[in-house]
Assembly symmetry: C2
Homo-oligomer: 94 residues x 2
């Protein structure tokens, strides 16, 4: 059974428990700025390990020292618990 889409109310409540994530339509996104490219890439590799463990993968944009992560559950057509679980794990990276 596919995972269920969250309601707008659930999404709003979940967002208040995260740090710096914004809802953009059917996705949540967060932007990061690091000291340099190397630091940005180290972060991306940490995120990648979490993504592999969760079998849930954010879209990742790297522009030198800036990284943008975007989460959505494409199979469900929007935001699910899986997106927020991974977002929480990413926030705990520090």
């Amino acid at each position: 059974m596919p995972i269920e889409l969250l309601s707008d109310t659930d999404i709003q409540r979940q967002l208040t428990t995260l740090q710096g994530w914004e809802r953009v339509g059917k996705e949540i996104t967060k932007r990061y700025k690091f000291a340099d490219f190397r630091a940005a890439l180290a972060f991306v590799n940490q995120v990648a390990d979490l993504a592999e463990a969760a079998d849930h993968h954010p879209d990742i944009i790297i522009r030198y020292n800036r990284v943008t992560l975007t989460l959505s559950t494409h199979s469900a057509g929007g935001l699910t618990e899986n997106d927020f679980q991974l977002a929480h794990q990413i926030d705990r990276l520090g």
Copy 2:
């Protein structure tokens, strides 16, 4: 002295020596598809090593097993020899 922008003629000639790169305005871009996210990320890390060595950094987009690289010399406002040198190195990754 800042590096010089390439002429349209130079850009066209350079593109013919690359594999799968397209010019999009002031940038060149190439799209890749890998077996899975892990393979995509391994490639990105190889590109990152080349980018650090060259001190020239492509924009990188990762969407699960798809990677898009975009090169431009922002300090010069367009395409320079540096972009094509790095593109050649990336093509040689195999």
